[in-house]
Assembly symmetry: C2
Homo-oligomer: 441 residues x 2
């Protein structure tokens, strides 16, 4: 059934291509041309960087690399975090996100700014294994295993220790009530300014080998089978809290046609609704991650890890709920979010991607802890802005205004039509059908 | 306290910048130069597209736009979904993701491929409101409200109806047990090939106005306060299931040093562990989203929406668990994942971003339903590959091999050192410290 589709003129809808990853870029593109029937080489080439050395770096980021995908790199000014002002880079395709964050940041810069506190930076990983002997025997000899685990990872952890990190705890977890004979080595790491994934996984794989070796000496007690060794992206102990506080009366610039009191009341209701109802909670948190991911991407961090950690954290008490809390008391408005974040300012792509390196430079090369605070502040800025829009003018007015240029491009508007439409929709509701009608009128 | 930092030579750590969004790009960059002390204009400019028309499109994607952020655009060959072969574009910064997906796709293309089934495409949105009158009164007059809601959204929904979508249900939800006087209009939408966010929000804001108007006629029964109107990113009824099946004995090419039976046994254990333990579940699902997000980004869809929906879905039965299921029975291996997906192949950036448009072309311009299947298949490909690595060789061997070029760049290796390192580490374990030692030896 398999045939080599590389030399043919046309890839059938079912033929298997062998050796694709061994082709060079030109050969890959030629194959794609045969497959799509369109000469896509000039278009793909147009997205390459003009500096060949830099381009080489980008070409090495992924197997079967074709070209660079462009996402807008924007900046949010006036982000005041713990008394320090930042211009924060964001990478995100949604047109209203930078504007929303900027609006909130500008307001809060004049009202004390974002106060952030890192509640912990512990990361964890596990060696998952099956032990068919007595659990008590395992627990009894565990101190000896533990000593071996520390000993055999010493060469791996030496560098990290010198940077203030390392392994801080090793536990034995009995999960046999969930799955027959299931145990874990549950290992706690500090990883300084790195996200630490590679360091953690390297340690865990060494620990798995040590554990297996050690237990072969007790074959008469049972058999131990290591199933896998890997870091956990669940990081409920690597957490940052971000808080905004101001007198209710100072909320006037954000409250639209409402009084500051009514605005605060409606804001509180909106957050309570996101705590009470999962349909609302998911969208509320999505708005937080609009801001968080923008900075995560810009700084070369891993947004899938950050998203998975955040939403699992939102669900940790049995029902998925909002990551934020609000208090309106004695004329004071206080809003906070608490999110887990495992990010780095060294390692991964943070320094090797030139734009990520520039993004970190714009943030004055922060420590991982400082970056946690800045990222949380942007999550909060976006969420504050989104909730503010929702409870005042509604979300569509601002959002669609930002999206208008995209709509016009999509509908093939000429430059002249674009200018006319931007003028026409200044005070009108933007929608796909309204813009479409305008262009065909 | 606020001062205008634009004209000064140096932005202090606390000064507020006013009117930043009204500056043009050159002025913004000049201000950044003053702020960072480095002339970043040449670097930022080097990432612009050489075609000014195209570049103009990118410049309009975001407020406070500076330049384009490059992410690698790669391709996964041999993705066989429901009997059709695809070359699937992926945009992701993690170096091992495309390689991992390709490995799984290539194997499964020879064993029946990915079978996908869209279980639903319903999206929802809510008008969240407070009603301080009797709930029974609201329920009693609801049919009349409902009729008005359909009537007043007719002009908005006409276009979508002609494409096979529209509003399919409007419900009244009583959430007063969770929060005093809290009710929702809970509205179900079909959005054809669009993700539908703007359409849904426009409908809901119109509905909110209608609801308020209608209830002013019943002021003696109580007061109704609309708090907000917005789509929900929780989409447990817009779901796709993806399944892989083959005889256990055919798993031999993936089973490493294990027999196919032992491999299947270990694979089953690994999935059961991810169902039993949240620390493992989060990472297991993160691996699924490595694949999903790669295609979501490449096709111009909104990854925050997709991530939020997926992880909330994973938590919907009270404890966060793996999104996949496994069965090994009668010599047959069957693996499936079920994920919510709200994505579009029209609207948003899907057609206006030239690379997203090309990505969709590479996929033969699929319907939204087909795209759901392809995305789920890539999620599954990555997860299958990750679990396979974890239970056979361990994850670090392959991952660090892929990451080696990045490490070398990061450590400032010369071309000669790079070549030597690639050769040296062919059969050795790659780690930051090992590579660092090699370079300084």
């Amino acid at each position: 059934m398999a045939n080599d589709g590389i030399t043919g003129n046309h890839i059938s809808k079912t033929s298997i291509i062998s050796g694709f990853s061994k082709l060079n870029r030109d050969e890959r593109i030629e194959l794609l041309r045969n497959n799509t029937g369109v000469d896509i080489a000039p278009e793909l080439d147009s997205f390459l960087h003009s500096n060949p050395v830099l381009q080489q770096t980008f070409s090495e980021y992924s197997e079967n690399y074709l070209t660079n995908f462009f996402l807008p790199f924007g900046v949010v000014p006036n982000v005041l975090v713990n008394g320090e002002m930042y211009l924060v880079p964001m990478v995100i395709e949604e047109s209203s996100v930078v504007a929303a964050a900027s609006r909130a940041a500008g307001f809060w810069a004049q009202h004390g700014g974002f106060k952030t506190e890192v509640l912990g930076t512990k990361k964890k990983g596990q060696v998952h294994f099956i032990w068919n002997g007595q659990g008590d025997f395992l627990k009894q000899i565990f101190p000896k295993i533990e000593a071996e685990l520390y000993l055999n990872t010493e060469t791996i952890t030496a560098g990290m220790k010198s940077r203030g990190g390392g392994i801080t705890d090793i536990g034995l977890v009995d999960l046999t009530s969930k799955l027959a004979n299931y145990y874990q080595l549950d290992v706690v790491f500090e990883t300084a300014d790195a996200m630490g994934a590679n360091f953690i996984n390297t340690c865990l794989e060494e620990m798995a080998a040590t554990l297996k070796d050690f237990m072969t000496g007790f074959a008469q007690q049972g058999t131990l089978e290591v199933v896998m060794s890997i870091l956990s992206n669940h990081t409920p102990e690597s957490v940052v809290k971000c808080t905004l506080t101001c007198p209710v009366e100072e909320l006037a610039p954000m409250s639209g046609t409402y009084s500051p009191d009514d605005f605060a009341h409606r804001f509180k209701l909106a957050v309570q609704m996101a705590q009470a109802d999962v349909s609302r909670a998911v969208t509320h948190n999505k708005g937080i991650y609009n801001g968080i991911d923008g900075v995560v991407l810009a700084t070369g961090n891993d947004w899938r890890a950050v998203e998975a950690a955040g939403h699992a954290y939102a669900a940790q008490n049995g029902s998925y709920r909002a990551l934020s809390d609000v208090k309106v008391e004695d004329g004071l408005f206080e809003y906070s979010i608490t999110v887990p974040l495992a990010v780095g300012t060294v390692g991964g792509l943070t320094k090797s991607h030139p734009m990520a390196a520039l993004a970190l430079k714009m943030l004055r090369n922060p420590s991982a802890k400082k970056l946690m605070g800045i990222i949380a502040a942007l999550g909060m800025a976006n969420n504050f802005s989104a909730v503010t829009s929702l409870i005042t003018s509604g979300i569509q007015k601002g959002h669609m205004k930002m999206h208008l240029p995209n709509l016009l491009s999509q509908l093939g508007a000429t430059e002249q039509q674009k200018a006319a439409a931007m003028e026409y929709f200044k005070n009108k509701v933007v929608s796909y059908s309204a813009v479409s009608s305008f262009l065909t009128a």
